[in-house]
């Protein structure tokens, strides 16, 4: 069966390096999400896997077969494009059949596969229409159908939901997840939407400027982001990041950012003292509690700047020791702007980054 391996892929257009030493492994049936900001090289990477773009160096292996010299049609893959790319001169049925006809499948097989896909995606009534007679969501389904009927080893998706409205996107996301569970085929999914990445991915690959920053499960990426970039990219509202200086020595950690000062103890023992002026303290909005937690915690006092009511949640923007912080809390109608407030952060939930790298410390109070 078919996982895939990318080995030290590099790609440059002229003198611009777009991908830098990309190595990645996915096991059979895994749902891999490539996540990163616009222009970071996600699509280029996907297109290299598909064979639509040639890498400058490095190697692509799909299902234990090096495919570097193979054209797209011989790689046994299917791709769903952001713009759908349905053949406008063919009906939906012919669109679905196209790839199978090219592969000289028998009419019976083609009929069966189209029937199955149409049932799975509920596009039976659309089969005799032309693409221009379909809505965006329907085109999306047909595009997926065209990929499914081929029964490829590997599915590639390039931001397939980004042209849909928010509601449809959410429901298609769920369907895509179901589809993956039913088909059990390896999928690579490109997106810059962290929610899609978190909800769909079994393995998330966070990229920036042609580099892989971190590879991990959604939980790993969310709870143990490797650097402030990943930390800020995942999560909504984004993680609070306080920039300051840090001093680590023996069992002590001291963090300063203007008025904001913190002195904590760690379980680790640091032999040689570390001092850095480029340190970041990260706190997720939902980790800022407005009720005293039982575990060891940090206490922040300040006042409320703005309260946003999301219905189920309140987003409270507060200012403490000159730091602007965002907290996500349960609703409480008595909170008003300018009110004094005391907030608490469990020490376990603090993220410490020194020189752009996460320091894995178990912190507690001195």
């Amino acid at each position: 069966m078919a996982g895939f391996t990318l080995t030290q892929l590099c790609k440059s257009f002229g003198h611009t390096m777009v991908l830098n030493e990309i190595s990645l492994e996915a096991s059979d049936g895994e749902f891999v999400v490539l996540l990163g900001p616009s222009g970071c090289g996600k699509s280029t990477l996907l297109r290299i896997i598909a064979g639509l773009e040639a890498q400058s160096s490095g190697s692509v292996n799909i299902g234990n077969r090096v495919v570097d010299s193979l054209p797209p049609r011989d790689r046994d893959i299917a791709m769903v494009f952001q713009q759908y790319a349905l053949y406008p001169h063919l009906t939906v049925r012919e669109n679905l059949a196209f790839g199978l006809k090219m592969r000289k499948e028998s009419t019976a097989v083609i009929e069966k596969r189209i029937g199955d896909a149409a049932e799975l995606l509920e596009i039976h009534e659309l089969l005799d229409r032309k693409p221009k007679e379909l809505s965006g969501g329907q085109r999306q389904r047909v595009a997926m159908g065209r990929a499914i009927v081929r029964k490829p080893k590997l599915f590639l998706f390039d931001e397939p939901l980004s042209n849909l409205d928010a509601r449809l996107r959410a429901s298609m996301r769920v369907e895509l997840k179901k589809l993956h569970q039913r088909l059990g085929v390896t999928m690579v999914y490109v997106t810059h939407d962290q929610i899609e990445a978190m909800t769909l991915g079994e393995k998330i690959v966070v990229m920036d400027q042609g580099h892989i920053l971190q590879i991990g499960t959604p939980d790993q990426i969310y709870h143990h982001p490797i650097n402030p970039f990943v930390a800020a990219f995942i999560g909504n509202p984004p993680m609070n990041l306080i920039e300051g200086s840090v001093h680590l020595e023996g069992q002590y950690l001291e963090f300063h950012a203007g008025d904001f000062a913190l002195r904590l103890e760690t379980h680790a023992h640091i032999e040689t003292a570390i001092h850095s002026d480029s340190a970041v303290l990260g706190i997720r909005p939902e980790d800022i509690k407005l009720d005293i937690p039982s575990e060891p915690h940090l206490t922040l006092s300040g006042f409320i700047d703005v309260v946003e009511n999301l219905g189920g949640d309140h987003i409270v923007y507060l200012i403490s020791q000159e730091q602007h912080l965002t907290a996500r809390t349960t609703p409480n109608s008595r909170r008003r702007a300018e009110d004094p407030i005391t907030a608490y952060v469990p020490l376990q939930k603090l993220h410490v980054f020194v020189n752009q790298v996460r320091i894995p410390l178990e912190l507690y109070y001195h």
């Binding site: 639509l52 797209p72 791709m79 494009f81 759908y84 790319a85 406008p88």
Partner: protein
């Protein structure tokens, strides 16, 4: 949204003038072709013909018009087919492949298309003489293809450029080679462009006079424009026959355009991508 009345009136007057202006000569020779010899020579000229078909008969049978029509059909069809077969892949390559100096190639093509014919007449004649192409149909088709290629390539390249690359990539992933992607997906979508290029090429070859006169001296080989121009007898100018022959020569073009107009359904590619 309807425009205000004065604007619409101006538009209407403009259209009427443009149509009448370009149709007037045509109307005149249609009328002439339906007159009788006496009417043609009448002074002052009469406007309304009496509907005699004698000129048509004379043009077709006394002047062997069928022969010229047949020659024109051969030359124009061959030119169109050959030009398109060459122009299509060329235009596709120009539209798709990242190529340094592509702009210069396209610009050069346009320049070539604008050369005055007289400049190349001499060389063309010399080349054809050397390779034995004088007084043959292929000898005429050769310069026709050369002269129509730039425009055909230009038109087709414009069409190919507007087709989304993703369609081609989808086809490749679906199992097509580059060639298959071209003729199974891109060509059907570029059909309006292909029809346009084909019609323009055909019309050029059908109407071309200068090279035809230069290269074909044998009346059995001559095409319509030359044939008709050489109708004139020793002492008389057979205006009536010329008019009738001209009408007959124009009819196939009108038919062709009407026929292909159905094929030229623009917006064929809408729905391919979002929007």
């Amino acid at each position: 949204m309807t425009k205000p009345l004065p604007e619409r009136l101006m538009l209407l007057v403009g259209i009427v003038f443009a149509v009448l202006g370009s149709l007037l000569p045509f109307i005149w020779f249609v009328l002439t072709s339906l007159k009788s010899q006496i009417q043609v020579e009448a002074i002052p000229p009469t406007w309304w013909p009496d509907g005699s078909l004698e000129f048509y008969y004379s043009a077709l049978f006394d002047h062997e018009l069928f022969n010229y029509i047949w020659n024109s059909v051969i030359v124009a069809s061959a030119t169109t087919i050959i030009a398109l077969v060459i122009a299509t892949p060329a235009a596709y390559a120009l539209a798709r492949i990242r190529l340094a100096g592509k702009v210069w190639v396209l610009g050069g093509l346009l320049c070539v298309a604008m050369f005055p014919q007289i400049v190349i007449a001499g060389p063309v004649w010399q080349i054809l003489e050397r390779i034995g192409g004088l007084n043959t149909h292929w000898g005429l088709v050769l310069p026709y293809v050369t002269l129509t290629l730039p425009l055909a390539v230009w038109i087709l390249a414009t069409f190919f450029k507007e087709l989304p690359v993703e369609l081609e990539e989808a086809a490749q992933i679906d199992g097509c080679t580059t060639w298959q992607a071209l003729y199974k997906v891109m060509l059907p979508l570029a059909a309006p462009g292909i029809f346009t290029a084909a019609i323009l090429t055909f019309i050029y070859a059908w109407n071309e006079f200068f090279f035809a006169l230069l290269i074909l001296t044998d009346p059995a080989k001559q095409t319509l424009p030359v044939g008709i121009a050489l109708f004139q007898g020793e002492f008389t100018m057979p205006w009536g026959e010329i008019a009738a022959a001209s009408v007959l020569a124009t009819l196939p073009l009108i038919l062709l355009v009407l026929l292909f107009q159905r094929g030229i359904i623009s917006g064929l590619s809408s729905g391919a991508v979002k929007g």
